[in-house]
Symmetry: none
Subunit: 239 residues, 2 copies
């Protein structure tokens, strides 16, 4: 009879990792120390470290890239919304509708953010932008950074509903392909990503300068571009 499950090393390391992420203030997209380093830090073998990381990956808190490193990813945010109008889109037309709905929220969020943003809000946006630049080559990590940027704007509205909406939407509407996949030419892709960075910058500047209308216009332009690209992409790839 196993009254008390002896705490396995793997669990100890797992807890140590989440504590380490919290204490060191590691943001989504940041890199963890290499596994060898973690081995000596926790005084365990690599097997244990790897299993702990595998656990955290399964929980969606880490992401690993072969040959590169292990990265912190966006916190999982339990799904489970039941609202009909937040259902995951069913077909391409539905995705476009959803994107349009999203626009309505985020455009206004940008405007409110311009009126209410604090220095801390601006800092988070800047962090997200530089993170985006740092991970241009990796679609999933750039997607994380993109979400961080939009979430920082939602935060700046100082209205919880916007933040909650952006979080929940992220679970359902992530046209991951749209952030870099589907380009046959590498030059086209980097140009496209540069474009997005420019759009983010324009939104950021408007919010920083407290220009609400310009912030709305910039956000509208940004999201309209994404929606247009998705439509073109889906037209080209429909079967």
């Amino acid at each position: 009879m196993a009254e008390i499950e002896a705490l396995r090393l793997t669990d100890r390391v797992k807890n140590g990792l989440v504590r380490m992420i919290a204490e060191d203030g590691l943001q989504p997209g940041d890199k963890l120390p290499p596994s060898d380093r973690l081995c000596e830090q926790f005084s365990v073998s690599r097997t244990v470290v790897r299993e702990a990381i595998a656990s955290l990956k399964a929980e969606g808190r880490l992401r690993s890239l072969r040959g590169s490193g292990v990265y912190v990813s966006e916190p999982p945010k339990l799904t489970g919304g039941s609202s009909m109008f937040m259902e995951a889109p069913q077909d391409i037309g539905d995705v476009l509708d959803f994107m349009e709905f999203r626009m309505s929220v985020e455009i206004e969020a940008a405007g409110l953010a311009a009126e209410r943003r604090t220095e801390t809000n601006l800092l988070r946006m800047e962090q997200a932008m530089s993170q985006f630049a740092r991970h241009l080559e990796d679609n999933t990590l750039a997607t994380d950074a993109d979400r961080s940027f939009h979430r920082a704007i939602a935060d700046a509205t100082n209205n919880t509903r916007f933040r909650l909406f952006v979080d929940e939407m992220g679970e359902r509407l992530i046209p991951r392909r749209a952030l870099g996949a589907g380009f046959s030419d590498e030059k086209d892709k980097s140009e496209f990503l540069d474009n997005i960075q420019g759009e983010h910058r324009r939104i950021f500047d408007a919010i920083s300068d407290r220009q609400a209308d310009e912030a709305r216009a910039a956000m509208r332009h940004h999201l309209e571009g994404g929606r247009r690209r998705y439509r073109e992409w889906s037209l080209a790839h429909e079967r």
Copy 2:
């Protein structure tokens, strides 16, 4: 460049395990084959099998007893939490936040409606407006008419998401009082309701004339007024 994340062996084994559990009809509490067996079955090393099991443990689908074996555990029950951001508002500040969030959606809905409305849409709006006028004396009926008007606008966007949102929001955010209750003077009240009719009329005209920006401005003004009145009312009645 990371075109397609090459599927790691661990993920393959993980999928294989869940498929195996399903196909063999393993119930919670049943024991899995020993890891050595799984290794040769999937033709991989123990490392891989162990990481796959670690993942499934993290997801709560397996649990392992040292020295005994690995067992299927109760399937994790889906957290049935509804969409946080659509929760019914808790306090006055929350109501104001929700109203602001609603504004973001309906402002854009008005703009889209102006671009896309059909004659039928306009007819529905007119019906709602005359219904509103006909029932000025009855708060609940006037509220119904008000909802019909906003829903007709959402319909005119030709985007299902807007219609679904307006419907669902109506369930949660009905400042019934704001539509007439709380007036000590009958004259103030009728004046207030005339005001609302005028705002509706302005929105309707803009949509009818396909003036998207004017429709947005009119809707913003309309909802901002409602929100301001609610705030004043709540300040006057706070305990």
